[in-house]
Symmetry: C2
Subunit: 339 residues, 2 copies
Amino acid sequence: MASVKDVARLAGVSVATVSRVLNDSAPVTAGTRERVLAAVAELAYRPNAVARSLRTDATRTIGLIIGDILNPFFTELARAVEDEARVTGYSVVIGNADERPERQDHYVRTLLEQRVDGLLLCPTAEITPLVRDAVADGTPLVFLDRTLPGLDVPTVRADGTAAIGELIAHLTRLGHRRIAFISGPALLSTGRDRTAAFVAAMAGHGLPVRDEYLEAGDFQAASGRASAARLLALPEPPEVIFAGDNLMALGALDEIRARGLRIPADVALASYDDLPWFTHVDPPITAIDQPVQELGRLAVRGLAERIGGRPADPVVLAARLVVRRSCGENDSMEGSARR
Amino acid sequence: MASVKDVARLAGVSVATVSRVLNDSAPVTAGTRERVLAAVAELAYRPNAVARSLRTDATRTIGLIIGDILNPFFTELARAVEDEARVTGYSVVIGNADERPERQDHYVRTLLEQRVDGLLLCPTAEITPLVRDAVADGTPLVFLDRTLPGLDVPTVRADGTAAIGELIAHLTRLGHRRIAFISGPALLSTGRDRTAAFVAAMAGHGLPVRDEYLEAGDFQAASGRASAARLLALPEPPEVIFAGDNLMALGALDEIRARGLRIPADVALASYDDLPWFTHVDPPITAIDQPVQELGRLAVRGLAERIGGRPADPVVLAARLVVRRSCGENDSMEGSARR
DNA sequence: GATGCTGATGTAAACGATTACATCAGGCTC
DNA sequence: GAGCCTGATGTAATCGTTTACATCAGCATC
């Protein structure tokens, strides 16, 4: 593959001049510029980004480590990050942690070795030594969706506390009192936050949170199904199952269907995270929608600031409740919010 | 950030010895090895993959350019590619062409400049000059899902001809005769192949393919919806809408629902591509399922062969029909295949 | 005890770009 | 016309690895 040297030789100039033409980094005579560009075309020269990165100590690449690439929430997030990064002139290398800390660390390691300019991380566990080192080394880092306490790293995330409060209000207006929650892992900030918001909202409405109505899931479909199975097998099963993310909602839906139960007559269902196809389930599923596009965009902007050596502000956006019919009808208070 | 030189100095050896320890490339005394490893740990040394790649002319990275990251088919494919690549020791850089040729080319260019060892491409259009150049230059390349005629590049894909034949047979047994098809772009091999298979299967059952029942979509949800709208507005609308991919099926479903039509009583629906949530729609949607995992795995294996300078065999796997209830019931012939 | 081999290590050249510095011609100012 | 500036270009160092080649000590062989 042709290198600057080949181009320089063919154009009858030095490598410095070639570089100057290609990067506009210094004035060059029109004639020289033309000869260089002709040589570039002739040789189908393609600059070697590896060599450039070695010299400039910048790869124009950022790493994005997501929790689970099969989770539509993360796919949409990846899409948003990608779009913003592209217009900012960055490439994105995506790592799929598959919700496994060791796999997250594998990608942190690989991406740091590849010398990405910065890292967008949706942490899959508590702080690992590797992440702590990266922070200490001053690697430009932004947490996305999830956060890790005790580290000086800006986080871009959504807050669903208010939306969960609205959901519980909606449920109580519909007459539901026995409400169960399938939580995400307590190791993850999103898992903890949503559980805390649920417990607080229940208390706010004077509703008890029974131990057996608090299921511990792991944000994956199988755990949603298993949790739903346990809940529905209780002597006094809940009237509502609220799943802490979309995959667990899918799992719960599987289990409800497998038991031949009707929604919402036999059991109501709500999901944290909204999905396009939730409108097509019978009945359409009430969900809490996160501003995913905006999260992705702002995360990239924040990371770009960090890469530029400037501080980045943490960002918290509000999630919002989307009422559909999976928790019951006749909730006249919210007719307008329905879609 | 520490480099080999720093490690060498601290360990009291030469850089060559450090490299030998780290890569096991030559015998080293136990004591020396220990001192080197101690220095590596002490400095939290992390090899610079950029420099290594420059020297070795290999990045241990492959590029994957998919059609649309919001399409679950491609996400699942990306997941499979990623898994196989990781165990093979490769990193994957994903590019999202968003079904736009110029964006595909953007990624081809970027990834080639980044000197990926090979490229997995789901072509978004006809041959572009850039792709032709890459082939001519001998870049290790494998086409995935879609193919481009006239280039000497192995393709890994699924063939749905038989499954489409089964689907038409299923539909005729249910008494349907007016069957419409929303095709993908004729520029894409998958678009052409599915249309051809549909036309052939119709002919095989003595059914006419009316012009107005052949809608041209673009594999995106909006086109599915628009096509469905046109079909349903016809003086004699079809009894069945068969969408050429999952996103267009989702769009068609939106339109059918918006018109308040019942499935399958008013109009039946089938989809090329299966999705987990198709079982949860009311009624569950009959679909053609592609062996996505296997496609991803085999594509990576093929590409690894190409990178190693060996030829790779083209791969064609069969898609299969999954009968559910969206086209009608009482089709006793297939009771066993239902799920 | 000369020779040759092997194992352990060091020196220095590459890889392909960018860029600090040097050079030189030409034109301007006084 | 001396001095200086500017524009256009070239030379060579540099980034952090890997690796070909060189060196040297120790030991076995005859």
